[in-house]
Amino acid sequence: MIEPNVIEERIRENVPGVSHLALEDLTGGKDHYKAVVVSAAFDGKSRVQQHQMVYRALGELMAGPVHALALQTYTPEAWGQRGKSLL
């Protein structure tokens, strides 16, 4: 179990250039989260590499306090495109 603001701070501090971050507690138990992260640092990186960057930022939090983290990562450009496809 971990407070959402701790996760947000960790991501913002350790993933450079985060321009958008949305965190959702999926169960209310503070251990199953969903995070949408947008950063220019994801540019040119595969999805696995993007997610690994976020996991590295969270470090030991992923070894217990956070049981599951559904991740969606985007470059600013992909995030902008995504908005259009939903309209």
């Binding site: 696995v48 996991y55 590295r56 969270l58 070894a63 983290l69 991740l71």
Partner: protein, 111 residues
């Protein structure tokens, strides 16, 4: 992670074209995320070698360090880490998984 565990993991992913490190087995997945990847593999009609990490604590921890990926399930195709539940599902939805899996099963995809 000691070299023996690392060698065991490498051996498994080299030996089988598709490997899924999961919680439970293909017929009795013990976790929703693992069950999702099993379902994707069924829809692709792709046979895979399942490793039940619940019965192998050494692999359960070692695989996280091996892939620098902190969660289970983990899917490997032709010895390469493809992703966890989210990525496998997203790739399946986008149709990106089919060529990778088919290539691995009929041996046309180079490592």
């Amino acid at each position: 992670m000691d070299e023996a565990v690392k060698a065991r993991i490498q051996g498994i992913i080299d030996e089988h074209p598709i490997v899924l490190f999961m919680k439970g087995t293909r017929n009795f997945p013990q976790c929703g995320f693992s069950a999702t990847v099993v379902e994707v593999m069924k829809r692709l009609d792709a046979d895979f070698h399942g490793v039940n990490v619940l019965e192998d604590p050494e692999i359960r921890e070692g695989i996280k360090e091996f892939a620098n990926w902190p969660t289970i399930p983990q899917l490997y195709v032709k010895g390469e880490f493809v992703g966890g539940c989210d990525i496998v599902r997203d790739m399946f939805t986008a149709g990106e998984l089919t060529p990778i899996v088919n290539g691995a099963l009929d041996g046309t995809v180079d490592k």
